[in-house]
């Protein structure tokens, strides 16, 4: 397994840039995680939960009509069919089971649009853990349905009113709260970011995506895909599908970041493409920051990709050239979302549409018949508000003249 070094670094990236007060908890977490993965009682239970509760393994699906249009074989890893509608169930089940194993009784989580918050609240309900979710005040208004879901699931939702009142501030608040409650609380982080061991731990719980897909792909085609593509915000779904293919030199890995209004406008969330190396939320990685190192607000139609940092392992894969990262803007992502809906009858999440759009763009430069595996990381139910706004689908159906 391509793990970081003993102090949590992949090359110059990663590490622990957090107050000393958290180090003991991070050490405890690292120990517990390592022991849990080596304990069949833990891994068997996690597998069973995935199967019986999470609807795993997710299917691998050849999108034939889309493939015809694209000129390459487009294979979709259907994480959109998982319980709670995205790959995130894998992460939360893993971390919540680990929380129980550590004897902690409460989880806290940060959330942007609310998807990770809903997943965390789901796992908390399943395991009978207390759950508090930090969410930017603006987002609690825009995503009131997800707030309602979390509350229905028994979680407390705390609107965050500091800073820019977005995901990054929700993460700040979760870290602050964690320092004060670390003796009985686990910080169930939502992506492959944060201080060591979080990036490795979240990846380990998400890597089933790629492990399954690789086996399914070999089983169905007798070969490996030529390209594996995924969207990248913090990067958990992308690390989830990339990890199994890291040692397959023939497989090209592509991560597609949110290009927002267009990369040239400066209003985007393309952290690796545009960012500079810095420290944010406990890790050294690429960060959207100004000349002084103050964090710059990111922009994307996709709340799940709207984050000014990225997981440190992605930073390392970009720096070493093992994976390639490119921006996909709002318009290109929405076009891919519509194309998938109309050719395949699948409404995916806007996040996942970034990965699909990037793959379709890439397809133009590939040999005809090349095999492209896309991680369809989530479903689009949650995004219908944005879709309505974007396409202007709202209003009564047109009346036919009598």
């Amino acid at each position: 397994m391509p793990n970081p070094d003993a102090t949590g670094h992949w090359g110059e990236f990663g590490g622990r840039f957090v107050p000393e007060a958290l180090i003991a908890a991070l050490d405890e977490l690292e120990r517990a995680h390592t022991e849990a993965l080596a304990d069949p009682a833990f891994t068997d239970e996690l597998d069973r939960l995935g199967r019986e509760y999470g609807n795993l393994p997710s299917p691998l699906y050849l999108a034939e009509r889309l493939s015809e249009e694209a000129g390459v074989e487009v294979w979709l890893k259907r994480e959109d069919l998982n319980h709670t509608g995205a790959h995130k169930i894998r992460n939360v089940l893993g971390q919540a089971l680990l929380t129980k194993r550590m004897g902690k009784t409460r989880i806290i989580a940060e959330t942007g649009a609310g998807q990770h918050g809903v997943a965390a609240a789901t796992a908390a309900a399943y395991f009978g853990l207390e759950c508090t979710v930090y969410m930017g005040e603006e987002d609690t208004r825009r995503q009131f349905l997800n707030v309602a879901r979390m509350r229905l699931l028994g979680a407390e939702v705390v609107p965050v009113t500091t800073g820019s009142r977005t995901l990054k501030d929700a993460m700040n608040e979760a870290l602050r709260e964690w320092v004060a409650s670390v003796d009985h609380t686990h910080y169930l982080i939502g992506s492959v970011g944060g201080p060591h061991p979080f990036p490795q731990l979240v990846r380990d719980y998400c890597r089933g995506i790629g492990d399954e897909a690789r086996a399914q792909f070999l089983d169905r085609t007798g070969a490996l895909p030529d390209v594996v593509a995924a969207c990248v915000g913090g990067g958990s779904n992308a690390m989830g599908i990339f990890t199994a293919f890291l040692d397959d030199a023939s497989v090209k890995l592509y991560g597609f970041e949110a290009g927002g209004d267009g990369y040239d406008t400066g209003r985007h969330a393309a952290t690796i493409t545009a960012g500079q190396i810095g420290v944010l939320h406990g890790a050294r990685t690429f960060v959207l920051q100004d000349e002084d190192g103050q964090t710059i607000e990111s922009h994307s139609i996709s709340a799940g990709l709207d984050y000014p940092g990225v997981g440190p392992e992605h930073a390392h894969l970009a720096a070493t050239g093992r994976a390639v990262y490119e921006p996909v803007d709002d318009a290109e992502a929405m076009a891919a979302l519509e194309k998938l809906a109309r050719t395949e009858g699948i409404i995916c999440a806007i996040e996942s549409a970034h990965g699909l759009a990037g793959a379709l763009r890439l397809a133009k430069s590939l040999e005809p018949g090349a095999r492209v595996l896309v991680n369809l990381s989530g479903r689009g139910d949650k995004d219908m508000g944005n879709v309505v706004e974007y396409y202007g689908f709202a209003g009564a159906p047109e009346k036919k003249e009598a």
């Binding site: 957090v18 000393e20 007060a21 003991a24 908890a25 800073g163 810095g278 420290v279 960060v287 190192g293």
Partner: protein, 262 residues
């Protein structure tokens, strides 16, 4: 002037030092210089200048608000040298900063410019010695103090490693939580100071939560320095009138200075 100079003086006087914190650029650049002078005039032995940062994960609402206000006023990292230069000479001036700001400026370049401005050293709340190789080299090169933090959750091994990397003094985070004035002082702090003292002869400062002379006196009984931040910041947040804020700061500092002398 280094931290050791201040502690030599307070030790000779048989008392703890008072360390006063304010973010540079708050409430304005000029007023932050004035505020530091006020703290020194009214008995602060050491000054901690914060550099406002967009994502201050170790700070509570008061210091966050102050940082936001300074940044909204256009504060730039390099202005901390301006403030340092204006106030240096009477007491040691340390900068407390989140690490990304130093890394972005350049660790070596920051150390050089800060030393040239008359600064004494850095307090680094989100930098542990394990990640600090570049800073340790630069602070040796430019003869700057390095203040790392210990916390109630720190193991014996980590306390030993952390104090070994410190120079000037050791910052003991008295509570598991963010900065902010509290009604009651920490019960964990005396134990943390006791554990830390077993590992070092450096002075030990206790911070997080102090807001009155009585609390300062309580901490001064077992620590070498009493560190006060949010209560200082609140002097300006609680009024829109900067001169009134200056008056509050003068009164609070005098009260705290009296506390460490009891």
């Amino acid at each position: 002037m280094r931290a050791a100079d201040a502690f030599a003086k307070t030790k000779a006087e048989g008392r703890a030092a008072l360390v006063g914190y304010l973010p540079a650029g708050f409430p304005t650049l000029a007023d932050s210089i004035k505020a530091v002078d006020i703290m020194i005039d009214h008995g602060a032995d050491v000054i901690e200048l914060g550099i406002p940062y967009s994502d201050p994960v170790m700070d509570g609402p008061a210091i966050q608000r102050a940082a936001d206000q300074a940044l909204a006023g256009g504060f730039r990292t390099r202005q901390v040298f301006e403030v340092t230069e204006a106030v240096a000479g009477r007491v040691p001036i340390l900068v407390m900063t989140y690490w990304n700001l130093v890394e972005r400026y350049g660790v070596e370049r920051f150390s050089r410019d800060f030393a040239a401005a008359g600064g004494a050293g850095l307090i680094t709340p989100d930098l542990i010695p394990d990640e600090a190789a570049e800073w340790i080299a630069a602070s040796d090169e430019h003869d700057l103090d390095r203040v790392f933090l210990v916390a109630p959750s720190s193991t014996e091994e980590r306390i030993a490693a952390t104090v070994a990397a410190c120079r000037g003094f050791v910052y003991a985070q008295s509570v598991m939580g963010v900065t902010g004035a509290r009604a009651a002082t920490s019960v964990a702090a005396p134990e943390l100071v006791r554990r830390t003292r077993l590992r070092t002869d450096l002075p030990i400062g206790v911070g997080l939560g102090v807001r009155s002379g009585d609390q300062a006196a309580e901490i001064a009984a077992y620590a070498d320095a009493v560190i006060v931040g949010s209560a200082m910041v609140n002097c300006y947040l609680e009024t829109d009138d900067v001169p009134a804020g200056h008056q509050r700061l003068a009164a609070l500092t005098a009260d705290l200075a009296e506390g460490v002398r009891r």
